[in-house]
Protein backbone atom coordinates (compact mmCIF):
# COMPACT_ATOMS: atom_id res chain seq x y z
CA UNK A 1 0.00 0.00 0.00
CA UNK A 2 1.23 3.46 -0.86
CA UNK A 3 2.10 5.53 2.18
CA UNK A 4 3.50 8.52 0.32
CA UNK A 5 2.60 9.38 -3.24
CA UNK A 6 3.99 12.39 -5.08
CA UNK A 7 3.04 13.17 -8.63
CA UNK A 8 4.37 15.91 -10.83
CA UNK A 9 6.19 17.75 -8.07
CA UNK A 10 7.99 20.86 -9.29
CA UNK A 11 10.28 23.25 -7.51
CA UNK A 12 12.47 25.97 -8.94
CA UNK A 13 14.86 28.43 -7.34
CA UNK A 14 15.03 31.54 -9.48
CA UNK A 15 15.61 30.11 -12.95
CA UNK A 16 16.93 26.74 -11.80
CA UNK A 17 14.52 23.83 -12.00
CA UNK A 18 15.52 21.80 -8.93
CA UNK A 19 12.64 19.34 -9.32
CA UNK A 20 10.82 18.74 -12.59
CA UNK A 21 7.65 16.63 -12.51
CA UNK A 22 8.93 14.19 -9.95
CA UNK A 23 6.76 11.10 -9.42
CA UNK A 24 7.71 8.97 -6.43
CA UNK A 25 5.66 6.51 -4.43
CA UNK A 26 6.80 5.04 -1.14
CA UNK A 27 5.14 1.82 0.03
CA UNK A 28 4.29 1.31 3.65
CA UNK A 29 7.08 -0.51 5.48
CA UNK A 30 9.74 -0.21 2.81
CA UNK A 31 13.17 1.40 2.78
CA UNK A 32 13.47 3.54 -0.33
CA UNK A 33 16.93 4.66 -1.40
CA UNK A 34 17.12 8.06 -3.07
CA UNK A 35 20.35 8.48 -5.02
CA UNK A 36 21.77 10.75 -7.68
CA UNK A 37 24.76 12.94 -8.44
CA UNK A 38 25.33 16.17 -6.51
CA UNK A 39 22.73 18.77 -7.36
CA UNK A 40 20.25 16.22 -8.68
CA UNK A 41 17.52 17.41 -6.32
CA UNK A 42 17.62 14.79 -3.55
CA UNK A 43 17.85 17.23 -0.69
CA UNK A 44 15.34 19.56 -2.33
CA UNK A 45 12.89 16.68 -2.50
CA UNK A 46 13.41 15.96 1.22
CA UNK A 47 12.86 19.64 1.98
CA UNK A 48 9.69 19.75 -0.11
CA UNK A 49 8.27 16.53 1.38
CA UNK A 50 8.90 17.72 4.93
CA UNK A 51 7.37 21.12 4.22
CA UNK A 52 10.59 23.11 4.64
CA UNK A 53 10.28 24.46 1.07
CA UNK A 54 6.87 24.92 -0.49
CA UNK A 55 6.58 23.09 -3.82
CA UNK A 56 5.56 25.09 -6.89
CA UNK A 57 3.18 22.48 -8.27
CA UNK A 58 2.17 18.84 -8.02
CA UNK A 59 0.33 16.45 -5.79
CA UNK A 60 1.58 14.98 -2.52
CA UNK A 61 -0.58 12.44 -0.70
CA UNK A 62 0.37 10.89 2.63
CA UNK A 63 -1.71 8.02 3.99
CA UNK A 64 -4.37 8.83 1.38
CA UNK A 65 -4.63 12.52 2.35
CA UNK A 66 -3.25 15.46 0.44
CA UNK A 67 -0.50 17.25 2.33
CA UNK A 68 0.49 19.50 -0.55
CA UNK A 69 1.16 23.07 0.53
CA UNK A 70 0.99 22.34 4.25
CA UNK A 71 3.38 23.88 6.76
CA UNK A 72 6.21 21.80 8.18
CA UNK A 73 4.53 21.51 11.58
CA UNK A 74 1.30 20.22 10.02
CA UNK A 75 3.24 17.69 7.97
CA UNK A 76 5.09 16.55 11.09
CA UNK A 77 1.74 16.12 12.82
CA UNK A 78 0.71 13.71 10.05
CA UNK A 79 3.71 11.53 10.91
CA UNK A 80 6.61 12.55 8.66
CA UNK A 81 9.91 13.17 10.45
CA UNK A 82 13.25 14.12 8.97
CA UNK A 83 16.92 14.38 9.89
CA UNK A 84 19.51 16.83 8.66
CA UNK A 85 22.70 16.11 6.77
CA UNK A 86 24.52 18.52 9.08
CA UNK A 87 22.96 17.90 12.49
CA UNK A 88 20.89 20.80 13.80
CA UNK A 89 20.37 20.17 17.50
CA UNK A 90 18.89 22.83 19.79
CA UNK A 91 22.23 24.24 20.85
CA UNK A 92 21.37 25.52 24.32
CA UNK A 93 19.69 22.30 25.42
CA UNK A 94 20.97 18.97 26.68
CA UNK A 95 20.54 15.81 24.63
CA UNK A 96 17.58 14.79 26.77
CA UNK A 97 15.89 18.18 26.40
CA UNK A 98 16.36 18.01 22.63
CA UNK A 99 14.49 14.72 22.46
CA UNK A 100 11.91 15.81 25.05
CA UNK A 101 10.96 18.88 23.00
CA UNK A 102 10.57 16.69 19.96
CA UNK A 103 8.26 14.29 21.84
CA UNK A 104 6.19 17.17 23.28
CA UNK A 105 5.28 18.43 19.83
CA UNK A 106 5.69 15.60 17.31
CA UNK A 107 2.71 13.72 15.91
CA UNK A 108 0.72 13.90 19.12
CA UNK A 109 0.99 16.60 21.74
CA UNK A 110 2.33 15.40 25.09
CA UNK A 111 2.82 16.94 28.50
CA UNK A 112 6.14 18.21 29.81
CA UNK A 113 6.23 15.54 32.52
CA UNK A 114 5.78 12.61 30.15
CA UNK A 115 8.34 14.06 27.73
CA UNK A 116 11.31 13.42 29.99
CA UNK A 117 10.46 9.74 30.37
CA UNK A 118 9.90 9.33 26.66
CA UNK A 119 13.14 11.17 25.92
CA UNK A 120 15.07 8.68 28.05
CA UNK A 121 13.47 5.83 26.19
CA UNK A 122 14.60 7.14 22.81
CA UNK A 123 18.05 8.09 24.08
CA UNK A 124 18.35 4.52 25.31
CA UNK A 125 17.18 3.19 21.95
CA UNK A 126 19.87 5.16 20.13
CA UNK A 127 22.58 4.36 22.69
CA UNK A 128 22.87 7.95 23.95
CA UNK A 129 21.72 7.27 27.52
CA UNK A 130 25.13 8.09 29.00
CA UNK A 131 25.22 11.55 27.37
CA UNK A 132 21.60 12.41 28.20
CA UNK A 133 22.59 15.32 30.44
CA UNK A 134 25.42 16.58 28.23
CA UNK A 135 25.09 19.79 26.33
CA UNK A 136 25.03 19.09 22.64
CA UNK A 137 28.37 20.85 22.07
CA UNK A 138 30.02 17.99 23.98
CA UNK A 139 28.71 15.38 21.54
CA UNK A 140 30.76 13.99 18.63
CA UNK A 141 29.46 13.79 15.06
CA UNK A 142 28.07 10.29 15.32
CA UNK A 143 26.34 11.08 18.60
CA UNK A 144 24.83 14.18 17.00
CA UNK A 145 23.60 12.09 14.07
CA UNK A 146 22.08 9.59 16.48
CA UNK A 147 20.52 12.46 18.38
CA UNK A 148 18.87 13.48 15.10
CA UNK A 149 17.50 9.93 14.87
CA UNK A 150 16.33 9.94 18.50
CA UNK A 151 14.61 13.26 17.91
CA UNK A 152 12.95 11.99 14.74
CA UNK A 153 11.80 8.81 16.50
CA UNK A 154 10.43 10.79 19.44
CA UNK A 155 7.92 12.48 17.13
CA UNK A 156 6.38 8.98 16.69
CA UNK A 157 6.49 9.13 12.89
CA UNK A 158 5.18 6.74 10.24
CA UNK A 159 7.82 7.86 7.76
CA UNK A 160 11.35 9.11 8.35
CA UNK A 161 13.31 11.01 5.71
CA UNK A 162 17.03 10.46 6.33
CA UNK A 163 19.21 13.07 4.65
CA UNK A 164 22.74 11.66 4.38
CA UNK A 165 22.97 10.29 7.89
CA UNK A 166 26.26 8.58 7.07
CA UNK A 167 28.14 11.55 5.59
CA UNK A 168 31.36 12.24 7.48
CA UNK A 169 31.37 9.01 9.49
CA UNK A 170 34.20 6.44 9.57
CA UNK A 171 33.59 2.80 8.50
CA UNK A 172 32.94 1.53 12.04
CA UNK A 173 30.48 4.35 12.68
CA UNK A 174 28.79 3.68 9.34
CA UNK A 175 28.31 0.07 10.35
CA UNK A 176 26.66 0.93 13.66
CA UNK A 177 24.52 3.56 11.92
CA UNK A 178 23.30 1.00 9.39
CA UNK A 179 22.38 -1.33 12.26
CA UNK A 180 20.50 1.57 13.87
CA UNK A 181 18.57 2.30 10.68
CA UNK A 182 17.58 -1.38 10.51
CA UNK A 183 16.37 -1.27 14.11
CA UNK A 184 14.26 1.79 13.31
CA UNK A 185 12.82 -0.05 10.33
CA UNK A 186 12.11 -3.09 12.54
CA UNK A 187 9.82 -0.85 14.54
CA UNK A 188 7.57 -0.69 11.51
CA UNK A 189 8.70 2.72 10.29
CA UNK A 190 8.93 3.47 6.61
CA UNK A 191 12.22 5.05 5.58
CA UNK A 192 13.40 7.20 2.70
CA UNK A 193 17.18 7.39 2.75
CA UNK A 194 19.31 9.81 0.76
CA UNK A 195 22.84 8.51 0.69
CA UNK A 196 26.11 8.72 -1.19
CA UNK A 197 27.67 5.53 0.18
CA UNK A 198 26.45 3.19 -2.59
CA UNK A 199 27.33 -0.06 -0.85
CA UNK A 200 25.09 0.95 2.04
CA UNK A 201 22.15 2.08 -0.09
CA UNK A 202 22.31 -1.10 -2.14
CA UNK A 203 22.22 -3.32 0.94
CA UNK A 204 19.63 -1.33 2.92
CA UNK A 205 17.08 -0.34 0.31
CA UNK A 206 14.23 -2.45 -0.97
CA UNK A 207 13.88 -0.13 -3.93
CA UNK A 208 15.99 2.66 -5.34
CA UNK A 209 14.96 5.85 -7.13
CA UNK A 210 17.62 7.72 -9.11
CA UNK A 211 17.35 11.46 -9.63
CA UNK A 212 19.34 13.46 -12.13
CA UNK A 213 18.92 17.18 -12.75
CA UNK A 214 15.63 17.23 -10.93
CA UNK A 215 14.08 14.27 -12.81
CA UNK A 216 13.52 10.65 -11.90
CA UNK A 217 15.62 8.71 -14.40
CA UNK A 218 15.21 5.23 -12.95
CA UNK A 219 13.36 3.36 -10.21
CA UNK A 220 13.25 -0.28 -9.16
CA UNK A 221 15.21 -3.09 -7.53
CA UNK A 222 18.73 -2.03 -6.48
CA UNK A 223 20.59 -4.36 -8.89
CA UNK A 224 18.51 -3.59 -11.94
CA UNK A 225 18.63 0.16 -11.33
CA UNK A 226 22.39 0.17 -10.98
CA UNK A 227 22.77 -1.56 -14.31
CA UNK A 228 20.45 0.90 -16.03
CA UNK A 229 22.04 2.74 -18.96
CA UNK A 230 20.67 6.14 -17.98
CA UNK A 231 21.91 5.77 -14.42
CA UNK A 232 25.39 4.79 -15.49
CA UNK A 233 25.63 7.68 -17.89
CA UNK A 234 24.36 10.11 -15.21
CA UNK A 235 26.98 8.95 -12.78
CA UNK A 236 29.89 8.20 -15.07
CA UNK A 237 29.34 10.50 -17.98
CA UNK A 238 27.93 8.13 -20.61
CA UNK A 239 30.63 5.49 -20.82
CA UNK A 240 30.18 1.98 -19.61
CA UNK A 241 33.14 0.45 -17.84
Amino acid sequence: MKLLDCRGVRKSFGGVQALQDVDIAVDEGEILGLVGPNGSGKSTLINVLSGFFPADAGQVDFGGMSIFGQEANEIAAHGIARTFQIPRPFATMTARENVAVSYMFGREKHSLASARLAADEWLDFTGLAQVADSNVDELNLQQLKFLELARAMATEPKLILLDEVLAGLNPAEIESSVAMIRRIHDRGITIVIVEHVMRVVMSLSHRIVVLDQGRVIAAGQPESVMNDEAVISAYLGGKRI
Binding site: S50, G51, F52, E71, A72, N73, A76, A77, A81, R82, F84, R88, P89, F90, A91, T92, M93, E97, A100, V101, S102, M104, F105, G106, R107, K109, S111, L112, R151, T155
Partner: protein, 384 residues
Protein backbone atom coordinates in the same frame (compact mmCIF):
# COMPACT_ATOMS: atom_id res chain seq x y z
CA UNK B 1 5.58 18.93 47.46
CA UNK B 2 6.32 19.32 43.76
CA UNK B 3 8.71 22.01 42.61
CA UNK B 4 5.80 23.87 41.06
CA UNK B 5 3.90 23.68 44.32
CA UNK B 6 6.89 25.10 46.21
CA UNK B 7 7.26 27.91 43.68
CA UNK B 8 3.58 28.85 43.85
CA UNK B 9 3.78 28.86 47.63
CA UNK B 10 6.82 31.15 47.35
CA UNK B 11 4.89 33.50 45.07
CA UNK B 12 2.06 33.58 47.59
CA UNK B 13 4.36 34.34 50.52
CA UNK B 14 6.22 37.10 48.67
CA UNK B 15 2.93 38.63 47.53
CA UNK B 16 1.40 38.68 51.01
CA UNK B 17 4.58 40.07 52.57
CA UNK B 18 4.77 42.88 50.02
CA UNK B 19 1.04 43.52 50.36
CA UNK B 20 1.45 43.97 54.11
CA UNK B 21 4.36 46.36 53.69
CA UNK B 22 2.42 49.67 53.43
CA UNK B 23 0.73 48.88 56.76
CA UNK B 24 4.07 48.13 58.40
CA UNK B 25 5.59 51.22 56.82
CA UNK B 26 2.95 53.51 58.29
CA UNK B 27 3.32 51.87 61.74
CA UNK B 28 7.09 52.28 61.68
CA UNK B 29 6.98 55.78 60.23
CA UNK B 30 9.11 54.84 57.27
CA UNK B 31 9.72 57.72 54.87
CA UNK B 32 7.25 57.76 51.99
CA UNK B 33 9.87 57.38 49.34
CA UNK B 34 10.40 53.74 50.35
CA UNK B 35 7.08 52.91 48.72
CA UNK B 36 7.93 54.98 45.67
CA UNK B 37 11.26 53.20 45.43
CA UNK B 38 9.54 49.82 45.61
CA UNK B 39 6.76 50.50 43.15
CA UNK B 40 9.18 51.96 40.65
CA UNK B 41 11.16 48.73 41.03
CA UNK B 42 7.88 46.82 40.42
CA UNK B 43 7.38 48.87 37.28
CA UNK B 44 10.77 47.89 35.87
CA UNK B 45 10.46 44.27 36.94
CA UNK B 46 7.15 44.08 35.07
CA UNK B 47 8.48 45.75 31.94
CA UNK B 48 11.63 43.63 31.73
CA UNK B 49 9.95 40.36 32.69
CA UNK B 50 7.29 40.85 30.06
CA UNK B 51 9.92 41.77 27.46
CA UNK B 52 11.78 38.61 28.35
CA UNK B 53 8.75 36.41 27.66
CA UNK B 54 9.15 37.31 24.01
CA UNK B 55 12.78 38.14 23.46
CA UNK B 56 14.51 36.09 26.15
CA UNK B 57 12.44 32.98 25.52
CA UNK B 58 11.92 33.04 21.75
CA UNK B 59 14.99 35.02 20.68
CA UNK B 60 12.96 37.55 18.64
CA UNK B 61 14.67 40.80 19.55
CA UNK B 62 12.11 43.47 20.35
CA UNK B 63 12.46 47.23 20.74
CA UNK B 64 8.68 47.39 21.12
CA UNK B 65 8.44 47.70 24.90
CA UNK B 66 7.99 51.47 24.61
CA UNK B 67 5.06 50.92 22.27
CA UNK B 68 3.21 48.51 24.61
CA UNK B 69 3.97 50.77 27.54
CA UNK B 70 2.82 53.85 25.63
CA UNK B 71 -0.43 52.29 24.45
CA UNK B 72 -1.18 51.40 28.07
CA UNK B 73 -0.36 54.89 29.34
CA UNK B 74 -2.55 56.57 26.74
CA UNK B 75 -5.43 54.14 27.21
CA UNK B 76 -5.93 55.17 30.84
CA UNK B 77 -4.93 58.77 30.09
CA UNK B 78 -7.75 59.00 27.54
CA UNK B 79 -10.40 56.85 29.25
CA UNK B 80 -9.84 57.86 32.87
CA UNK B 81 -8.20 61.26 32.26
CA UNK B 82 -10.33 62.68 29.44
CA UNK B 83 -13.47 60.49 29.34
CA UNK B 84 -13.86 60.30 33.13
CA UNK B 85 -14.13 56.50 33.27
CA UNK B 86 -13.49 54.86 36.62
CA UNK B 87 -9.79 54.14 36.81
CA UNK B 88 -10.17 50.44 37.57
CA UNK B 89 -12.59 50.09 34.66
CA UNK B 90 -10.09 51.68 32.28
CA UNK B 91 -7.04 49.81 33.56
CA UNK B 92 -7.73 46.34 32.09
CA UNK B 93 -8.28 47.98 28.70
CA UNK B 94 -4.73 49.35 28.86
CA UNK B 95 -3.51 45.76 28.74
CA UNK B 96 -6.07 44.74 26.14
CA UNK B 97 -5.28 47.68 23.85
CA UNK B 98 -1.56 46.86 23.93
CA UNK B 99 -2.41 43.20 23.35
CA UNK B 100 -4.45 44.09 20.25
CA UNK B 101 -1.68 46.28 18.82
CA UNK B 102 0.87 43.56 19.56
CA UNK B 103 -1.17 40.83 17.90
CA UNK B 104 -1.83 43.00 14.83
CA UNK B 105 1.90 43.52 14.48
CA UNK B 106 2.48 39.80 15.03
CA UNK B 107 0.02 38.75 12.34
CA UNK B 108 1.89 40.90 9.85
CA UNK B 109 5.51 40.16 10.74
CA UNK B 110 5.18 36.51 11.74
CA UNK B 111 3.04 35.58 8.73
CA UNK B 112 5.53 36.93 6.22
CA UNK B 113 8.12 34.21 6.09
CA UNK B 114 10.77 36.31 4.45
CA UNK B 115 11.03 38.62 7.48
CA UNK B 116 14.04 37.72 9.55
CA UNK B 117 14.93 38.64 13.10
CA UNK B 118 16.50 41.99 12.14
CA UNK B 119 13.38 43.11 10.34
CA UNK B 120 11.32 42.13 13.34
CA UNK B 121 13.51 44.27 15.60
CA UNK B 122 13.22 47.27 13.28
CA UNK B 123 9.47 46.84 12.93
CA UNK B 124 9.00 46.88 16.69
CA UNK B 125 11.09 50.04 16.86
CA UNK B 126 9.06 51.65 14.09
CA UNK B 127 5.72 50.89 15.69
CA UNK B 128 6.55 53.15 18.64
CA UNK B 129 7.22 56.03 16.23
CA UNK B 130 3.97 55.39 14.38
CA UNK B 131 2.01 55.31 17.63
CA UNK B 132 3.71 58.51 18.81
CA UNK B 133 2.63 60.28 15.60
CA UNK B 134 -0.92 59.04 15.95
CA UNK B 135 -1.07 60.32 19.53
CA UNK B 136 0.34 63.67 18.43
CA UNK B 137 -2.10 64.08 15.52
CA UNK B 138 -5.37 63.26 17.25
CA UNK B 139 -6.46 65.72 19.93
CA UNK B 140 -8.80 63.02 21.28
CA UNK B 141 -5.66 61.16 22.36
CA UNK B 142 -3.14 63.91 23.00
CA UNK B 143 -2.87 66.36 20.13
CA UNK B 144 0.59 67.40 21.27
CA UNK B 145 -0.60 69.24 24.37
CA UNK B 146 -0.22 66.49 26.92
CA UNK B 147 -2.88 65.37 29.35
CA UNK B 148 -3.25 65.54 33.11
CA UNK B 149 -3.84 62.48 35.25
CA UNK B 150 -3.62 64.33 38.55
CA UNK B 151 -7.36 64.76 39.05
CA UNK B 152 -8.27 61.13 38.32
CA UNK B 153 -10.03 59.75 41.41
CA UNK B 154 -8.88 56.37 42.69
CA UNK B 155 -11.19 53.90 44.44
CA UNK B 156 -11.11 54.42 48.20
CA UNK B 157 -10.26 50.85 49.17
CA UNK B 158 -6.84 51.29 47.56
CA UNK B 159 -5.90 53.94 50.07
CA UNK B 160 -3.94 57.16 49.53
CA UNK B 161 -2.23 57.84 46.22
CA UNK B 162 1.13 56.30 47.04
CA UNK B 163 -0.11 53.08 48.67
CA UNK B 164 -2.74 52.79 45.93
CA UNK B 165 -0.15 52.90 43.15
CA UNK B 166 1.99 50.53 45.20
CA UNK B 167 -0.83 47.98 45.50
CA UNK B 168 -1.78 48.12 41.84
CA UNK B 169 1.81 47.84 40.58
CA UNK B 170 2.42 45.01 43.06
CA UNK B 171 -0.49 42.95 41.75
CA UNK B 172 0.54 43.51 38.13
CA UNK B 173 4.18 42.71 38.88
CA UNK B 174 3.26 39.47 40.66
CA UNK B 175 0.96 38.44 37.81
CA UNK B 176 3.68 39.16 35.26
CA UNK B 177 6.44 37.28 37.04
CA UNK B 178 4.06 34.40 37.78
CA UNK B 179 3.17 34.24 34.09
CA UNK B 180 6.85 34.32 33.14
CA UNK B 181 7.45 31.43 35.53
CA UNK B 182 4.46 29.40 34.31
CA UNK B 183 5.51 29.86 30.68
CA UNK B 184 9.07 28.89 31.57
CA UNK B 185 7.82 25.64 33.10
CA UNK B 186 5.40 24.74 30.31
CA UNK B 187 5.27 23.36 26.77
CA UNK B 188 4.88 26.93 25.55
CA UNK B 189 8.18 27.84 27.22
CA UNK B 190 10.04 24.86 25.78
CA UNK B 191 8.55 25.59 22.40
CA UNK B 192 9.84 29.16 22.61
CA UNK B 193 13.32 27.99 23.65
CA UNK B 194 13.30 25.67 20.64
CA UNK B 195 12.37 28.62 18.40
CA UNK B 196 15.26 30.61 19.87
CA UNK B 197 17.69 27.78 19.07
CA UNK B 198 16.40 26.84 15.60
CA UNK B 199 12.95 27.87 14.50
CA UNK B 200 12.95 25.83 11.28
CA UNK B 201 13.80 22.64 13.11
CA UNK B 202 11.21 23.37 15.81
CA UNK B 203 8.57 23.76 13.13
CA UNK B 204 9.75 20.58 11.43
CA UNK B 205 9.25 18.63 14.65
CA UNK B 206 5.61 19.65 14.66
CA UNK B 207 5.62 22.79 16.78
CA UNK B 208 2.97 25.36 15.78
CA UNK B 209 5.57 28.14 15.84
CA UNK B 210 3.26 30.90 14.62
CA UNK B 211 0.80 30.41 17.48
CA UNK B 212 3.64 30.21 19.99
CA UNK B 213 5.28 33.42 18.82
CA UNK B 214 1.91 35.17 18.89
CA UNK B 215 1.32 33.96 22.45
CA UNK B 216 4.71 35.26 23.59
CA UNK B 217 4.25 38.60 21.84
CA UNK B 218 0.72 38.90 23.20
CA UNK B 219 1.79 38.24 26.79
CA UNK B 220 4.63 40.73 26.44
CA UNK B 221 2.39 43.48 25.07
CA UNK B 222 -0.44 42.80 27.53
CA UNK B 223 1.63 43.11 30.71
CA UNK B 224 3.71 45.98 29.35
CA UNK B 225 0.48 47.85 28.53
CA UNK B 226 -1.24 47.00 31.79
CA UNK B 227 1.66 48.40 33.81
CA UNK B 228 1.74 51.43 31.51
CA UNK B 229 -1.91 52.00 32.39
CA UNK B 230 -1.06 52.37 36.07
CA UNK B 231 2.09 54.33 35.32
CA UNK B 232 0.08 57.14 33.73
CA UNK B 233 -0.90 58.03 37.30
CA UNK B 234 2.68 58.20 38.48
CA UNK B 235 3.73 60.29 35.46
CA UNK B 236 0.92 62.73 36.28
CA UNK B 237 1.31 64.85 33.16
CA UNK B 238 1.44 62.55 30.14
CA UNK B 239 3.23 63.79 27.01
CA UNK B 240 4.13 61.99 23.80
CA UNK B 241 7.82 62.79 24.23
CA UNK B 242 7.95 61.30 27.72
CA UNK B 243 6.04 58.17 26.86
CA UNK B 244 7.17 57.09 23.40
CA UNK B 245 10.90 57.46 23.82
CA UNK B 246 13.74 54.97 23.75
CA UNK B 247 14.14 54.88 27.55
CA UNK B 248 11.79 52.02 28.33
CA UNK B 249 12.92 49.64 25.57
CA UNK B 250 16.57 50.40 26.25
CA UNK B 251 16.35 49.84 29.98
CA UNK B 252 14.35 46.62 29.77
CA UNK B 253 16.98 45.23 27.40
CA UNK B 254 19.81 46.22 29.75
CA UNK B 255 18.03 44.88 32.82
CA UNK B 256 17.11 41.57 31.26
CA UNK B 257 20.48 40.97 29.65
CA UNK B 258 22.30 41.82 32.86
CA UNK B 259 20.09 39.57 34.95
CA UNK B 260 20.03 36.84 32.35
CA UNK B 261 17.50 36.17 29.60
CA UNK B 262 17.61 32.39 29.95
CA UNK B 263 15.67 32.25 33.19
CA UNK B 264 12.43 33.82 34.36
CA UNK B 265 14.19 35.28 37.41
CA UNK B 266 16.92 36.96 35.36
CA UNK B 267 14.96 40.13 34.48
CA UNK B 268 13.72 40.43 38.08
CA UNK B 269 17.26 40.42 39.46
CA UNK B 270 18.59 42.64 36.66
CA UNK B 271 15.82 45.20 37.18
CA UNK B 272 16.43 45.41 40.92
CA UNK B 273 20.19 45.86 40.43
CA UNK B 274 20.05 48.51 37.71
CA UNK B 275 17.12 50.39 39.15
CA UNK B 276 18.70 50.55 42.62
CA UNK B 277 21.99 51.84 41.29
CA UNK B 278 20.34 54.47 39.08
CA UNK B 279 17.99 55.57 41.81
CA UNK B 280 20.80 56.07 44.37
CA UNK B 281 22.96 57.89 41.82
CA UNK B 282 20.13 60.26 41.05
CA UNK B 283 19.40 60.90 44.70
CA UNK B 284 23.09 61.58 45.38
CA UNK B 285 22.98 64.25 42.66
CA UNK B 286 25.17 62.45 40.14
CA UNK B 287 22.62 62.52 37.30
CA UNK B 288 25.24 63.74 34.86
CA UNK B 289 27.59 60.87 35.54
CA UNK B 290 24.80 58.37 35.71
CA UNK B 291 24.94 57.22 32.13
CA UNK B 292 28.72 57.06 32.00
CA UNK B 293 28.82 54.99 35.16
CA UNK B 294 25.91 52.75 34.30
CA UNK B 295 27.27 52.18 30.81
CA UNK B 296 30.68 51.23 32.15
CA UNK B 297 29.26 48.96 34.82
CA UNK B 298 27.07 47.20 32.29
CA UNK B 299 29.93 46.52 29.94
CA UNK B 300 31.94 44.99 32.78
CA UNK B 301 29.05 42.94 34.12
CA UNK B 302 27.78 41.66 30.83
CA UNK B 303 31.25 40.66 29.63
CA UNK B 304 32.23 39.08 32.94
CA UNK B 305 29.00 37.16 33.48
CA UNK B 306 27.70 36.13 30.08
CA UNK B 307 24.98 33.83 31.34
CA UNK B 308 23.50 36.63 33.43
CA UNK B 309 23.96 37.59 37.06
CA UNK B 310 21.04 35.52 38.29
CA UNK B 311 22.47 32.14 37.32
CA UNK B 312 25.88 33.13 38.69
CA UNK B 313 24.36 34.17 42.01
CA UNK B 314 22.33 30.98 42.19
CA UNK B 315 25.49 28.94 41.65
CA UNK B 316 27.17 30.79 44.51
CA UNK B 317 24.04 31.26 46.60
CA UNK B 318 25.78 30.61 49.90
CA UNK B 319 28.50 33.21 49.38
CA UNK B 320 25.94 35.66 47.95
CA UNK B 321 23.65 35.26 50.94
CA UNK B 322 26.48 35.58 53.47
CA UNK B 323 28.00 38.68 51.85
CA UNK B 324 24.65 40.40 51.40
CA UNK B 325 23.52 39.69 54.96
CA UNK B 326 26.90 40.65 56.46
CA UNK B 327 27.00 44.03 54.76
CA UNK B 328 23.37 44.74 55.67
CA UNK B 329 23.98 43.86 59.32
CA UNK B 330 27.24 45.82 59.57
CA UNK B 331 25.65 48.91 58.03
CA UNK B 332 22.63 48.63 60.29
CA UNK B 333 24.92 48.52 63.32
CA UNK B 334 27.37 51.25 62.38
CA UNK B 335 25.72 53.44 59.78
CA UNK B 336 22.56 55.48 60.18
CA UNK B 337 21.94 55.84 56.41
CA UNK B 338 18.59 54.91 54.92
CA UNK B 339 17.59 51.34 54.16
CA UNK B 340 17.83 51.93 50.41
CA UNK B 341 21.48 53.00 50.73
CA UNK B 342 22.28 49.94 52.81
CA UNK B 343 20.57 47.81 50.20
CA UNK B 344 22.71 49.42 47.48
CA UNK B 345 25.99 48.73 49.29
CA UNK B 346 25.03 45.14 50.08
CA UNK B 347 24.02 44.71 46.45
CA UNK B 348 27.31 46.11 45.15
CA UNK B 349 29.32 43.87 47.50
CA UNK B 350 27.39 40.84 46.27
CA UNK B 351 27.92 41.90 42.65
CA UNK B 352 31.66 42.20 43.25
CA UNK B 353 31.64 38.60 44.43
CA UNK B 354 29.66 37.53 41.37
CA UNK B 355 32.30 39.15 39.14
CA UNK B 356 35.05 36.76 40.27
CA UNK B 357 35.61 34.53 37.21
CA UNK B 358 34.62 30.89 37.52
CA UNK B 359 38.17 29.57 37.40
CA UNK B 360 39.41 31.88 40.14
CA UNK B 361 36.32 31.13 42.17
CA UNK B 362 36.98 27.42 41.86
CA UNK B 363 40.55 27.93 43.09
CA UNK B 364 39.37 30.04 46.03
CA UNK B 365 36.81 27.44 46.95
CA UNK B 366 39.42 24.65 46.78
CA UNK B 367 41.89 26.50 48.94
CA UNK B 368 39.16 27.14 51.45
CA UNK B 369 38.40 23.43 51.44
CA UNK B 370 34.77 24.21 50.68
CA UNK B 371 34.65 21.92 47.70
CA UNK B 372 36.56 18.79 46.85
CA UNK B 373 38.79 18.43 43.80
CA UNK B 374 36.08 16.37 42.09
CA UNK B 375 34.21 19.60 41.44
CA UNK B 376 37.08 20.78 39.25
CA UNK B 377 36.14 19.78 35.71
CA UNK B 378 39.68 20.30 34.38
CA UNK B 379 41.16 17.79 36.78
CA UNK B 380 38.52 15.23 36.01
CA UNK B 381 39.29 15.37 32.33
CA UNK B 382 42.97 14.59 32.89
CA UNK B 383 42.09 11.37 34.71
CA UNK B 384 39.89 10.23 31.86
Amino acid sequence: MTSRGRALLGFGVVFLALLALPHIASRLDWPGFYLTFLFTAFFWITQSSSWNMLTGYSGYFSFGQGAWFGVGVYTTAVLAGKQSWGFLAALPLAGVAALVVGLLLGVVVFRLRSLGGEIFALTTLAIAFVLASIARIFPEIDGGRGSFMTSVPLPEFLGEFRPAVYRMTLVIMMLTVLTAYLIYESRLGWGLFAIRDDEQVARGLGEPVFRYKMAALGANAFFGGLMGGVWALQIGFVTVEDVFNIRVPLFVILMSVLGGTRHWMGPVVGSVIIFTIIDRFNSAGFEDFNQVFIGGLLIVLVLAVREGIYLRLRERWLAAGVIFATVMILLTLFNPSSMVWKFLWALLATLAMALVPDRAWQRLANRGGATTSAADPEREKVDV
